[in-house]
């Protein structure tokens, strides 16, 4: 019952929010419930998206062989402290690579990030990204509200302002970043 009331409150908060100005390449996504996302991170810690509601999630799929992913990742690391006060949780999902591949790559370009490991790539397929990299913004109630098409520099003011303006409770929580 309590969880139901919380969900209603979250829904009301999200629905009552004024329309956000979308920066280039960010598209609204109707009302799609986020697919399951239960994975271990690079350090072996279990994570379940469904158990981490109550705040916005920045769910990002990537692979080290993908050029745009390589260019985008350092910027993602840099914006995490810039939007920390909003409570947005960064959930980074590596698609179908090994720990060695991920460790070698992130150790150089974004050493503070600890991604979830989608070893066989099946969780990524559930989410149906339009390609890699792919970013989904999941609202506090667990619905995908926006997706970003391809890679970008999230440090640009338009993107930072967009992330900071996402409505909802600012329940600080982080995963995918130390």
């Amino acid at each position: 019952m309590t969880r139901g009331i919380q969900s209603l409150l979250l829904l009301a908060l999200t629905a009552a929010a004024p329309a956000l100005e979308l920066p280039p390449g960010v598209m609204p996504v109707g009302d799609r419930l986020a697919p399951a996302l239960q994975l271990d991170d690079l350090d072996g810690n279990a994570y379940d998206l469904a158990e981490n509601g109550g705040h916005w999630r920045f769910v990002h799929f990537w692979a080290s062989w993908c050029g745009p992913c390589r260019r985008e990742m350092p910027g993602i690391q840099r914006i995490i402290p810039l939007v920390e006060h909003t409570g947005i949780e960064f959930v980074l999902v590596n698609t179908a690579e090994t720990e060695d591949e991920v460790f070698s790559f992130l150790g150089i370009v974004a050493p503070d990030l600890v991604p979830l490991m989608d070893h066989d790539g099946l969780v990524t397929e559930l989410w149906q990204p339009r390609g890699l990299p792919a970013t989904f913004l999941v609202d506090p109630g667990g619905h995908i509200r926006y997706q970003a098409l391809g890679g970008r520099s999230w440090e640009q003011p338009a993107y930072l302002e967009f992330l900071r303006a996402l409505p909802g409770p600012a329940t600080a929580r982080s995963a995918g970043n130390k």
Binding site: P24, G25, M27, A63, W65, C66, P68, T95, A96, E97, T98, E101, H119, D120, G121, L122, T124, E125, R130, G131, L132, L149, G150
Partner: protein
């Protein structure tokens, strides 16, 4: 270094009629056609069997998979929708031919059969899938897409005509691009 060559090697044909041939900047190092106007950018990059096999070998693909990959013609296609209207990538609307004969690209079913035959692990199937050009995509303003397209055989050039429907409902004026000859790169390995 980009050089201006192949004027009219890529011919833009709108449904309303033939438009003036654009002068297209072609980078010789790419050895494949490219085209850009205010609606779209498309670039086709042929790959040698060694290039494409090395990419997948570095991702842990087993020898049996690499052998199958070497037996096919791979080209990497990059497209960006520069217009404000939706641009539809739908490979079913593209035409491919070789020596005047229609040619089918190697589709999902083909690769599924190959990978089942050698028991390729799921992670490699996933990686292979994400490196392929999607068969259908409604490209939004400024949205890029890229990936590999594969054909049977490894040496003879292809003729490619790309057709993009436009508009959210696909009912806008289509964009037709004759990409000319797209080479299948020969092996660079020493005999």
């Amino acid at each position: 270094m980009p050089v201006l060559t192949r004027t009219c090697a890529i011919v833009l044909i709108a449904s309303a009629g033939l438009l003036p041939c654009p002068v297209t900047a072609v980078d010789r190092t790419l050895q494949g056609p490219s085209f850009e106007d205010n609606r779209l950018l498309i670039r086709v990059v042929p790959r040698t069997p060694e290039q494409i096999a090395a990419f997948y070998e570095a991702r842990g693909f087993p020898p049996a998979a690499l052998e199958r990959i070497r037996q096919t013609c791979f080209v990497t296609v990059f497209i960006k929708n520069k217009g404000n209207d939706v641009l539809w990538l739908d490979l079913d609307h593209w035409s491919f031919s070789r020596d005047g004969e229609p040619l089918a690209l190697l589709d999902d079913e083909f690769w599924q059969t190959q990978w089942d035959a050698i028991g390729l692990r799921q992670a490699s199937r996933s990686t292979f899938g994400w490196t392929r050009l999607p068969r259908v995509r409604d490209l939004q303003h400024d949205e890029p897409v890229g990936g590999n397209v594969a054909f049977p055989g490894t040496t003879r050039a292809l003729e490619v005509e790309a057709v993009f429907q436009t508009g959210a409902d696909r009912k806008g004026a289509p964009v037709r691009l004759g990409l000319g000859r797209v080479p299948c790169m020969k092996s660079t390995a020493q005999p």
